[in-house]
């Protein structure tokens, strides 16, 4: 439900990262979104389509990789996928406080198309 806030944060974060320069050259923005981030990828993509209009982001598209929840047991070292939100180690039964994946909400990659002027044979 807070996809609009997150979308605004995408624009602000990139503007800060690129110091506001060359944003119109961005073609792809790749996100990693954990299952625990409470973000619905399709809604976020739709919101982005609306928000980018009439901004330097107009030529860019959003790509979202959803990350499943994983954890590592502090007791026995077992790494495992967390299924059905049971945060308990399947090997030794220890409760898990060490969620290693699934909380992500970040921009992982930005692809720009930088215009270059080339000599072309005609």
């Amino acid at each position: 439900m807070h996809e609009l806030s997150i979308c605004q944060s995408i624009l602000n974060t990139i503007e800060t990262e690129f110091d506001g320069k060359g944003i119109e050259n961005i073609r792809e923005i790749h996100l990693k979104v954990g299952m625990l981030a409470c973000i619905e990828p399709e809604i976020l993509k739709n919101v982005f389509q609306i928000v980018k209009v009439d901004t330097p982001f107009e030529n860019s598209e959003l790509f979202i990789e959803v990350i499943e929840v994983a954890a590592e047991c502090k007791n026995c070292g077992q790494k495992f996928k967390v299924e059905k939100y049971i945060f308990v180690c399947p090997s030794c039964g220890e409760p898990v406080s060490n969620v290693t994946e699934g909380k992500e909400l970040l921009i992982s990659k930005i692809i720009l198309e930088e215009p270059s002027y080339a000599e072309i044979n005609e």
Binding site: C38, L105, K109, Y117, A118
Partner: protein
């Protein structure tokens, strides 16, 4: 013959980055936490679905504790001043944040609201979040303790349905326990599910309306205020 054209031939350039989209919020939240620590104030963030009794719990808590400690409240709602007015009737300072449609409070809203409050001698700041078990989970408000309410009328399945919230929760308060005989709500089941999501969750059972369980809750709050103030004194020593 060769000639130069100005036709753009794009070169794709990939920037591998790791830019946390909540970084700005987390940065502001950390600032609030430092500020509140310097002022010696314990901050609690109250979250739940709408209607599970956050404001009622605050009203009854204030009635019981206002002779012992000083309380201030920040209220978050999409619209209206109603909650802040209810709290003010208990004789304590309350400020309403109207989010105008935004489904959660963000650290920036708290940061903007704080200069409008008087924190002289305040011991506890309660932040009552927007009623919503989804979005508020992602936003650190600079609180010391996150309290999630589950009313027994809404069902005992909440921890597994909203795991992100319960993963970031310190305290679960089961409210409206006076209605337990009339609804199919299992206290055992809700505690079991909450512990499966987050083994560190502590639970309180109470009824703001009838008063049962309120003493334990208020004693715990007083204990936490004391702990925070002692920890600050220790650091200063």
């Amino acid at each position: 013959m060769q000639k130069l054209t100005n036709k753009a031939v794009g070169t794709l350039r990939v920037h591998d980055v790791s830019l946390n989209l909540l970084k700005a919020n987390d940065y502001i939240a950390e600032g609030i936490r430092e500020d509140m620590k310097a002022k010696n104030i314990l901050v609690l963030n109250l979250v739940s679905s709408p209607g599970s009794g956050k404001t009622s719990l605050l009203e009854e808590t204030i009635k019981k504790l206002k002779s012992k400690i000083n309380i201030a409240v920040l209220e978050g709602d999409l619209e209206t001043e109603r909650d802040a007015e209810r709290i003010r009737q208990q004789g304590v300072q309350a400020l309403q944040i109207v989010t105008q449609g935004i489904c959660h409070l963000e650290a920036q809203m708290i940061q903007q609201a704080l200069p409008n409050m008087n924190f002289d001698n305040i011991d506890i700041l309660f932040i009552e979040n927007v009623g919503n078990l989804v979005c508020p989970a992602s936003y650190d408000l600079g609180e010391d303790i996150r309290v999630t309410l589950v009313s027994c009328t809404e069902g005992d399945d909440k921890p597994k349905k909203y795991p992100s919230m319960f993963l970031t929760t310190d305290i679960m308060v089961v409210t409206k326990t006076d209605l337990l005989p009339y609804v199919p709500f299992s206290v055992e089941a809700v505690i079991k599910d909450a512990k499966e999501v987050n083994s560190k969750i502590e639970t309180f059972l109470l009824s703001s309306y009838k008063g049962e369980g309120m003493d334990e809750w208020c004693d715990w709050l007083l204990e936490k205020v004391k702990e925070k103030q002692e920890s600050i004194v220790n650091v200063e020593l």
